[in-house]
C-alpha cells in the first residue's frame, strides 16, 4: 500500500515535518517493501493554497494514507473527496512513524487539527508593531 509522510529531509531517517502543506519533502512509501520515493514539495513557497495543492498531489499519486503533524481544513477537504485517509499528530523519525503505522498504532483522524494558515510563518497581527500579514516572506497577492 502506498502512503505519504511529510519529512524535513529526503530520507526515512529524517524527522517527520509538522506542517502538511509547507513541508520540505514528501516521502511516498510502499509499506510492504519499505521502498520509498522522496519528492521536494513544489508548494513550499506558494502564495496561498499550499495545502490544497499538496493534497491534490497526494490524490494524483494515489496515496492511501497521509501521515503528518498538522493539517488544515482545506487540505482535509480535498482528502475527504479523494478518499485519502489522514493521520495527524505524527512526530519523530519518519521510519519509526511508518513502523508504528504498520503496527496499527496510529489512528486516522479524518479531519483537520489546525485552522487555515496555521503553518504560515509569523501569523497575523500581534499588536501595533507592524508584522501584519501572513508571515515569512510571503508576497501576498490578495
Amino acid at each position: 500500500m502506498k502512503i505519504a509522510i511529510t519529512a524535513t529531509g529526503p530520507s526515512l531517517d529524517d524527522q517527520v515535518e509538522a506542517r502538511f502543506g509547507r513541508t520540505p519533502y514528501y516521502l511516498f512509501i510502499d509499506t510492504e517493501t519499505m521502498e520509498f520515493e522522496a519528492i521536494q514539495n513544489p508548494n513550499v513557497a506558494a502564495g496561498g493554497g499550499a495545502g490544497i495543492q499538496s493534497a491534490q498531489l497526494m490524490a494524483d499519486n494515489d496515496v492511501k494514507y497521509v501521515l503528518t503533524g498538522n493539517c488544515g481544513p482545506n487540505a482535509s477537504r480535498v482528502f475527504g473527496s479523494a478518499g485519502v485517509k489522514l493521520i495527524v499528530g505524527v512526530t519523530g523519525i519518519a521510519r519509526q512513524a511508518v513502523e508504528k503505522f504498520k503496527a496499527g498504532a496510529l489512528v486516522v483522524s479524518g479531519q483537520a487539527n489546525v485552522a487555515s494558515h496555521f503553518g504560515m510563518g509569523g501569523g497575523q497581527g500581534m499588536g501595533g508593531g507592524g508584522g501584519r500579514g501572513m508571515g515569512a516572506g510571503r508576497n501576498r497577492r490578495s
Binding site: 506558494a46 502564495g47 496561498g48 493554497g49 499550499a50 490544497i52 495543492q53 493534497a55 491534490q56 490524490a59 482545506n74 477537504r77 480535498v78 473527496s81 479523494a82 478518499g83 487555515s116 497581527g125 499588536g127 501595533g128 508593531g129 507592524g130 508584522g131 501584519r132 500579514g133 508576497n139 501576498r140 497577492r141 490578495s142
Partner: protein, 296 residues
C-alpha cells in the same frame, strides 16, 4: 485633493495623523471626507466617534459549478492562480475564501459550467463625525479579500474638497488598493532602524506607483538620525514631525483627539497640510512643464 496616509511599518501613527489632520481641516471650515481603508483593523472611529447612518454588505462574486455540465477536465483548477479550485476524481472543489473573484475559471471552462454567485466578505458603514463625512469597512473575521472591502470604502468618495484615506500598514495588496489613485501619499515613519527599513519599502512602492509623496516622522526626537539622512539623500520632503510627547500617548490611550487634548498641535497639522498642498502644486507644475517641454 485625495491624500492617502500610509506607512511600511505598523503602529507609526497613521490613524493619529489621519484623524487629527481631518479634524483640523474640518475645524477650519473645509469640506473633509475620511475613508478608513484599514478594513482588517479600522480604528479611526475610536477617535472620531462618528454617528453611523448607514450600513451595507460587501460581496464578491465566486464561482459555482453546474454539475450536469461539468466533465471534471480540471482546466479551472489549472488556471486558478490562487489554488481556490481543486478537481478530485472529476469533482470540482471550490475554496471560497481563497477565491479572488477573477473569473478565470468561468472564462476558461470549455463546458461553460460555471455561474457566479455573490458571497459576503464584510460590511461598510457611513456616517458623520462633526463636519467630516466618514466611511469605514470591516472585513469579516477569517476572510482574506480585504481589497474588495477597501474598494467599496473608496467608492464612497464624494466630491468633497479634501478626501483623506487611512491606509493599512505594509506594502502589499491591501495597501496598493488603498493608495493607488491618491493625489498624494503621506508616508508615516519613526526614527528607528525598523522605521527606516519599512519606510524604504514604502518609498519603493510609491515610486513604483508613480505617486507623489512626502514623509511624516512620528516620535521624531527618539531613535537616531538615519531616517532624516535617508530623506535628505533621496530628496524626500519631511512635512510633519511629531515629538515623543507623553501627553499625546495619554490622550491616545483615552481615545481622545490630540488636537482636543493638546490644542497647540492644531498648528502642527495645519502647517503639514500647507506643506503638502505646496509640494503637490510644485510637483504638478513641474510635471506640466516637463510635458510642455517634451511636446515642443
Amino acid at each position: 485633493m485625495k491624500l492617502a496616509i500610509a506607512s511600511g511599518k505598523g503602529g507609526t501613527g497613521k490613524t493619529t495623523i489621519a484623524t487629527n489632520l481631518a479634524l483640523t481641516l474640518d475645524d477650519k471650515g473645509m469640506e473633509v471626507q475620511l475613508l478608513d481603508c484599514d478594513v482588517e483593523e479600522p480604528n479611526c472611529h475610536i477617535f472620531l466617534k462618528p454617528k453611523i447612518e448607514s450600513t451595507a454588505p460587501v460581496t464578491v462574486l465566486i464561482p459555482k459549478v453546474i454539475e450536469e455540465k461539468c466533465t471534471g477536465c480540471g482546466v479551472c483548477a489549472e488556471v486558478c492562480e490562487y489554488s481556490a479550485i481543486a478537481v478530485i476524481k472529476g469533482k470540482v472543489l471550490i475554496f471560497p475564501e481563497l477565491c479572488h473573484g477573477c473569473g478565470a475559471c468561468k472564462l476558461f471552462c470549455p463546458e461553460n459550467a460555471f455561474i457566479e454567485v455573490p458571497r459576503e466578505v464584510g460590511i461598510i458603514e457611513e456616517g458623520k463625525a462633526s463636519g467630516i463625512s466618514f466611511t469605514h469597512g470591516f472585513l469579516n473575521i477569517g476572510e482574506l479579500m480585504s481589497p474588495a472591502v477597501i474598494d467599496e470604502v473608496k467608492k464612497a468618495a464624494g466630491d468633497k474638497e479634501i478626501v483623506i484615506l487611512d491606509s493599512p500598514p505594509g506594502t502589499s495588496c491591501p495597501v496598493i488598493a488603498a493608495v493607488k489613485d491618491a493625489d498624494f501619499v503621506l508616508l508615516v515613519t519613526e526614527p528607528t532602524p525598523f522605521g527606516l527599513n519599512d519606510l524604504e519599502l514604502a518609498v519603493g512602492m510609491a515610486r513604483e506607483l508613480k505617486l507623489p509623496f512626502a514623509v511624516a516622522i512620528n516620535r521624531s526626537d527618539v531613535g537616531n538620525e538615519d531616517v532624516k539622512e535617508y530623506c535628505r539623500r533621496e530628496k524626500i520632503e519631511i512635512v510633519l514631525e511629531i515629538p515623543n510627547d507623553r501627553r499625546i500617548a495619554e490622550a491616545y490611550s483615552r481615545g481622545e483627539m490630540v488636537i482636543h487634548a493638546l490644542p497647540e498641535y492644531q498648528k502642527t497639522f495645519e502647517t503639514c497640510w500647507e506643506k503638502i498642498i505646496d509640494l503637490h502644486q510644485n510637483m504638478m507644475q513641474a510635471e506640466q512643464q516637463e510635458k510642455t517641454a517634451t511636446e515642443s
